[in-house]
Subunit: 353 residues, 2 copies
């Protein structure tokens, strides 16, 4: 009675399919607790059967074959700390507003994934010279509002990304079998790409000689720069440099004195080099304290900034991350009709009383 | 494994003090489940001790005295289904934006409260002719950003409202002792007023001869119509007529065909007479099907509207409730600096594909 349990909860965006957002303003850990890990499903959960433990590899390969769950577990594996970020993260911030799940800043979570490098599997099957893309199908399927018929969730990778040594067929998250809702027993993990690429409940891998054009490849997860036409559309791939102010919360009221501003930064291109903070709406910028670059090139970076609020008034705080490729967050995100890849400065308005 | 548990969660707005929003778009029941009931605390949770089970009544009364928990349980009681709505519900929708908890539409929940009418207690103590207001103190206390020192959460009611037969000293919610987080063992329940009046962890009732001016009475929970001055401020009291479109969700994508639009309506003045729906941004309005007026004058009203979406495009849906006093939701809420009493039409933009 004297110590009530107080905890943050996922933010429910949809029940069928289940879509839950990570309460990122209230959780700050290198490993996102499973209870808070964001969920973005496209369909109802698939049934797990004996077939779910068999992974088939076919198409433009020398020797098509299947891999059993136990077999994969015995192969050489690697473990990577990877943030998964939904391409629609922060969609609610686009102006003009766009349709789709109205994600806040929490469509991102981080975990330690263990699995077998996809290229190790493809070495066992061999590739044909015609190989161009690799298609990944999940066990989840269902209907779409825009097309007739049933669709499986399927995505492709260009051969180069598929053969990257860190593109994994994962079977464990944080030292345990992958939780059912996160893709048990097999999930593709594609570091540095937005998470639509990391196909859950993986059932088959098919090497193809041309471009895959399923609806989750060529309709969704494309940047459409025009409102009323599909011209100049380009595929959503690499995570763009980004940061978030976790605390203080937007529109909060603070007392006068010292306040710790803190948050995360991450990128799909290299690592975070620095994070700058403005407390005057972008006029002046000062460096945040950034955690030393991790051995693991993929994990997100914690930063903090101590701010002395010695005057009453309204303040606009911003964070801006720069990565080792030289990419910098922009003041305004590039608008696109389906609202992907938002990465403008994180902005928080506070009032000091 | 084949039937994963999928459920909506409260929306975390703050951990200390704990502030959680009801996921109102995903829960539609006359009785809000406890796990989803919204929480709005001003301080850390108070400790419950032996003293918590004693309620003192004093001030401008004939015979000051205390009431024991068991004694209250033996007195004649009544049960009321009451929606509690935070005065800041929907604060995030005010434009220009205001500071404070950025509540969405879920700072409202409904339950069945049982307790003793406050006027029955005051009959036992008697009132002095000088009595003007009644002050209610909770066990919760702490600091505020704007003032020096420690404050108890305390509010007053004018004598007329205090003596209303439905103003209760409640000890049960939905047939059980009031959950700790909702005010165990005693909570004042003031039907028809915004819920800041329904003081939790009630410790004392003091009748006074003048106006109570604690900071939760005269600083917070006041409508300030001006941004830069406190002139013309007025107290927040009665719940204003209101409604919500629970489904579909804002900015969702629907397929062509029939869709059920549904939601809730409620008011602090009388009961809901009708709810109108527009699917063309307010040009045309049609009546929703409204549940028959309940025997209980306070509970919220369910409504629904069947909509045939036979053309692709973007649609703006609105709901507008009218109560038995003739109050109608306005197109725009009355702006006030602290963001109380938002009750404009509920507006949802959808895209039909």
């Amino acid at each position: 009675m004297h110590s009530p349990i107080i905890k943050p909860y996922p933010i429910t965006r949809s029940l069928i399919p289940e879509i839950q957002e990570h309460p990122i303003h209230f959780v700050s850990a290198a490993i996102t607790p499973e209870a808070c890990f964001y969920l973005r499903n496209h369909f109802a959960y698939p049934r797990i059967t004996g077939q779910s433990f068999v992974l088939s590899v076919g198409g433009e390969v020398q020797k098509p074959r299947t891999f059993q769950y136990e077999e994969l577990l015995r192969m050489p594996s690697k473990e990577l700390t990877v943030p998964l970020e939904c391409a629609g993260n922060n969609r609610e911030l686009f102006r003009p507003r766009v349709f789709g799940e109205q994600w806040g800043a929490g469509a991102i979570s981080q975990g330690v994934w263990r699995g077998v490098a996809l290229r190790d599997l493809l070495r066992l099957t061999g590739l044909q010279a015609s190989a161009k893309e690799v298609v990944f199908e999940g066990h989840d399927s269902g209907r779409r509002p825009d097309l007739e018929g049933e669709f499986v969730f399927a995505r492709s990778l260009p051969l180069g990304k598929a053969m990257h040594p860190d593109t994994l067929i994962a079977y464990a998250l944080n030292g345990e079998p992958i939780p059912y809702k996160h893709g048990y027993p097999f999930r593709l993990i594609v570091p540095q790409w937005y998470a639509m690429a990391s196909v859950k409940w993986l059932r088959s891998i098919t090497v193809i000689r041309n471009h895959f054009s399923g609806p989750f490849q060529d309709i969704d997860y494309m940047y459409y720069p025009e409102k009323d036409s599909d011209t100049r559309k380009t595929p959503v791939t690499t995570i763009q440099v980004n940061s978030i102010i976790q605390q203080p919360l937007n529109r909060s009221v603070l007392d006068k004195g010292m306040h710790l501003i803190y948050g995360l930064a991450w990128t799909g291109t290299g690592w975070i080099k620095h994070v700058e903070i403005s407390t005057d709406g972008g006029e002046n910028w000062r460096p945040a304290v950034v955690q030393p670059a991790s051995q693991n090139a993929y994990s997100w970076t914690f930063w903090n900034y101590t701010w002395l609020a010695d005057q009453k008034g309204e303040y606009t705080m911003m964070s801006r991350a720069t990565d080792s490729f030289g990419f910098v967050q922009p003041a305004a995100a590039k608008w696109n009709r389906k609202g992907y890849g938002y990465n403008a400065y994180s902005v928080v308005h506070v009032q000091v009383e």
